[in-house]
Point group: C2
Chain length 320, copies 2
């Protein structure tokens, strides 16, 4: 771009908006606000204006709509149709890394066919949350080339629609998935090999979410030094509910990029830290409850701590 980039960049997210029943050893919620686009938008809204495309039923509580709008999330792209909202019920045991799905009811989400309002079609940053690859492709067809497109996906699409998924991946800049998905997608137990395979399809970056172990960034540099970056998870005494950690990581990641004049590898590294920070708040309570409580100052405070978590001063050892 020759023109000056206007900051913060405008963000568009397309994905699910739902209601969740979640139970963990530390409590439970019923029909709480959930869905990939919801989590993402709530997180990203700390940083920049967000346009959301999704679908809900007429049972979707007005309070959630009010909340998102208060956060500066534009809902012109949220379709409200006769029927019930997407519903997910899940349970976590003490190993909070593993979600046990108890029930999934797609409801109106089964007929989701994202249509972008005209004023949504020139986003600077586009996040294709976890939806069918064909729908992700249809969104790409409706936008003018954004500065950066990222996508998430899940094992269901990797197993059932891999070819379409690879076609989307070829068209995006950043793939943001979890570790098991990366290995499945590339069909190798080696994460580094998986990263090379996925990057060979076209994206310039792969973000691998590793839950309590943080996240790894692989870019298409020529050496490990150029191409590998690692951020830990913020050390927390109590994790109550990991639901939404991945989507709010993505929200913090894309939100951070909204403030970057240049979307280079350094910007991606800073975005990794911001993703990890925002996800660390999400898991401290159920649904988006913790994100409702905090302010941007809380996010900056944790962000400042991150440097120290990995910082060391090299010692020059004189050796014969």
């Amino acid at each position: 771009m020759t023109e000056q980039t206007r900051l913060p960049r405008e963000i568009l997210v397309v994905g699910s908006v739902g209601l969740d029943n979640v139970e963990t050893p530390f409590g439970k919620v019923e029909r709480a606000l959930g869905g990939s686009a919801t989590y993402f938008a709530t997180a990203a809204s700390f940083f920049a204006p967000v346009n959301l495309v999704g679908i809900v039923g007429t049972d979707f509580p007005q309070e959630h709509i009010d909340f998102l709008q208060q956060r500066g999330v534009n809902l012109d792209g949220l379709e409200i149709v006769e029927g019930e909202t997407f519903f997910w019920a899940g349970r976590y045991d003490y190993d909070l890394n593993v979600a046990h799905t108890l029930e999934t009811r797609l409801n109106v989400f089964a007929d989701f066919n994202p249509q972008l309002p005209p004023h949504y079609r020139t986003p600077s940053l586009l996040f294709l949350a976890n939806i069918a690859p064909e729908l992700q492709l249809s969104v790409l067809d409706q936008v003018e080339r954004p500065d950066l497109v990222a996508l998430d996906t899940m094992n269901f699409w990797i197993d059932s629609q891999k070819e379409a998924l690879i076609r989307v991946i070829q068209k995006v800049d950043v793939v943001i998935i979890n570790e098991a998905e990366a290995r499945d997608l590339a069909e190798t137990p080696s994460l580094l090999k998986a990263a090379r395979t996925i990057l060979s399809w076209g994206p310039r970056a792969l973000v691998v979410k590793r839950g309590e172990y943080g996240a790894a960034l692989f870019t298409s540099g020529s050496s490990r030094v150029d191409s590998f970056f690692f951020v830990p998870a913020y050390p927390l005494e109590d994790v109550r509910d990991p639901t939404g950690a991945g989507d709010t990581f993505a929200g913090g990641f894309i939100g951070a990029l909204a403030h970057e004049p240049v979307l280079d590898t350094n910007a991606l590294r800073r975005a990794m830290v911001q993703g990890s920070v925002v996800a660390s708040f999400t898991v401290e309570d159920f649904s988006i409850n913790r994100l409702k409580e905090i302010r941007i100052e809380d996010i900056w405070a944790r962000t400042k701590e991150f440097r120290a978590f990995t910082y060391f001063e090299p010692l020059e050892v004189a050796r014969s």
Copy 2:
């Protein structure tokens, strides 16, 4: 200390010396050099002189003794007694994080009762590898207060001799264990809570080994910023055999401290990196085969790369 510390510091290790059958999806070895003290000493010998206390049977191959001596490992403390050497057989599947023990024969190791030769009794750095807590205590009784004592242990001792184990932990400076052991030892699923519990018993540092996710250092600082440090595992395309990764991590860690004039938190952070580097070589081949091939220059080369893996330049965002 008021006197000048002489560098590199002398290292003493007490632990097992054994022969291993190991099988992974990438190959297998039979009666290969193994044992916690052996792995540790091989790794630490890149950095400083190492004295080893252990026990083997008369079947222990002379070539292994020759190898260790060539590496500058002093074996005056290695007892050779009538009988067979400690033997372990294990298998790893594609999930290389999980070792499946097929057979353990303690053999002469069952009667191990470490006796330190007189010239071993003033080590600067002492590593108590994974042996019975009572034996670790007996070693502590035989040495003059070293500058730093670290210990490893395993679930077997946590489950069967926890009281004795805690008595040793109260007397050491650094506990180096894996993640599951830390949670078991402190009886909590929260790693941060586990760290606080273990540090409350007396040690100034806890090192938690996390396999392919690297390692975390907790020190008794007042805030997360002071007290938490994280180092990733070196990204490898192929891991052939994870056996010995933990002990060689400890060897690199203590080896790095041998060159530190002051054993402060910065020194511990650098040692974490060195541990991760050395372990990354270990897992590239079976037994100590890869460590036999490399030179100190190879270690320095990877060490230099580590800074970039976690380095990011903070962006000052002007916010209203």
